[in-house]
């Protein structure tokens, strides 16, 4: 046997739990970030309608990113963080 270097780098160690439950959706506000991929705007419309009509969601806020590979603006993030109980976004095709 011989010794060689492992060329990879471990993923950053620290982890953070990002799993937060919102509980019963009745009376809650749901935000959407549309990633501007084809059809996602329509899916957002359909999901929003179902959440309001069948699950008692009080209001929805829809915002869009300029393109899928770009982050949402800080303004949009702050606005949704301040007003929503749940945020739904899309990734990939």
């Amino acid at each position: 046997m011989t010794l060689v270097y492992d060329p990879t780098a471990p993923a950053p160690g620290a982890t953070q739990n990002l799993y937060h439950r919102v509980g019963n959706l009745s009376g809650k506000v749901v935000g959407f970030i549309d990633n501007s991929k084809p059809n996602f705007n329509f899916l957002v419309d359909e999901v929003a309608e179902l959440l309001m009509n069948e699950h008692g969601v009080k209001a929805v806020i829809k915002r869009a990113k300029r393109g899928a590979s770009m982050p949402a603006t800080q303004q949009v993030l702050d606005e949704l963080a301040a007003q929503c109980d749940l945020v739904v976004t899309g990734s990939g095709d």
Binding site: T2, Y5, A9, A11
Partner: protein
């Protein structure tokens, strides 16, 4: 001997036999599919003498896995790719450059698009390292061109964690993802070199990284500048390009003969960019309907109201058209469309 820092690369036991060792790297998906040079302690130590930086200094965190690119890990991947010791500073600068926010490495690594990172080397180091800028500069045959691009790909795959089919979601990819590297042919360019356009001195050596979606040969025997600009601009405008829908940054590798024609007509590089930008507008109706919708969303702030009769500019301003002079004799230039949502980044190479 002092204890190794936590980010020191680990040594692993591997087979002595070269064929078996190469298979060991393939099985772990640590290679690009080609045989590697074993990164032994001795070879990596020797590679590290190519830079004055400390081995465990963190150069960048590489998206999308955000692994730490230490000088040592860059050196390991450089050894594997077959780089020479004096190539290391180029790779350190290139790793810094791809990690600049405006390059959007996250998007480039994880996209379904075929995006290669093109390295353009400028300045005296390009000559010293024998980076080919002349005949076949985007092809095979030069150690520097072949191994620098390959090493950067290994860095992006091994340190950045973008393995094909996993985090690298490319639908087909492209051959430039093995290596895509050349120097500017400064000696035969009628204009100031690229690094000067980008704020550096002619005596400084730089690496510029470009998120390139391919290479397209432009063969034209045009003898006058107007004719040449017209056919180049016409080639730039295609409806499935990423540059138009998001305001991109396309590049032209102008062959020295074409550059002479433009120069002889009295055109500066800035004027060539302006003329190409003006002539390369894409008629919006050539796009698929859904692409036009996407363009509308992405560019409404920049362009205001647009409709199917609009002519869409390829980038938000003429300087968004990148120009580099490279290649040997012949009537060819190369169109390099970009990923769109990316901006080229230039970094000084420490020597």
């Amino acid at each position: 001997m002092s204890a190794l820092p936590l980010n020191a690369a680990s040594l692993v036991e591997a087979p002595e036999d070269l064929d078996e060792l190469i298979e060991f790297f393939h099985l772990r998906r640590w290679s690009d599919g080609l045989p590697i040079v074993p990164p032994t302690r001795e070879r990596v130590q020797r590679m590290l003498t190519g830079s004055r930086r400390q081995a465990h200094e963190v150069v960048a965190r590489v998206a999308p896995g955000f692994g730490e690119a230490t000088v040592e890990r860059i050196a390991i991947n450089a050894v594997m790719a077959g780089c020479r010791v004096d190539h290391l500073p180029v790779l350190i600068a290139a790793t810094e450059a791809i990690s600049d926010k405006s390059f959007n490495l996250q998007g480039i690594q994880a996209t379904t698009n075929p995006v290669a990172v093109w390295l353009i080397i400028n300045g005296p180091l390009a000559l010293q390292l024998e980076v080919n800028s002349g005949m076949n500069c985007l092809g095979q045959g030069s150690v520097a061109n072949a191994t620098l691009g390959r090493a950067l790909r290994l860095i992006m795959q091994n340190i950045g964690g973008a393995l094909p089919g996993d985090m690298d979601r490319a639908t087909q990819g492209q051959p430039g993802k093995f290596s895509f590297c050349c120097a500017e042919n400064e000696a035969q360019s009628p204009w100031l070199p690229l690094q000067v356009d980008r704020g550096f001195a002619p005596t400084q050596s730089t690496v510029t990284v470009v998120g390139a979606a391919g290479t397209h040969n432009m063969n034209s025997h045009a003898k006058d500048a107007d004719d040449l600009i017209r056919v180049v601009a016409d080639t730039m405008a295609f409806p499935t390009s990423n540059d138009y829908w998001i305001s991109g940054e396309p590049w032209i590798v102008i062959g020295p003969e074409h550059a002479q024609i433009l120069h002889a007509a009295g055109l500066t590089k800035a004027e060539v960019k302006q003329r190409l930008w003006q002539a390369s507008g894409l008629s919006a109706k050539r796009m698929a309907k859904v692409e036009f919708q996407r363009t509308h969303t992405a560019r409404c702030e920049e362009l205001g109201a647009i409709d199917l009769d609009s002519s869409l500019p390829i980038s938000s301003h003429a300087d968004g058209v990148g120009i580099v002079v490279a290649g040997g004799p012949g009537t060819h230039s190369v169109y390099v469309p970009s990923f769109g949502d990316t901006r080229a980044v230039t970094r000084l190479i420490e020597s």
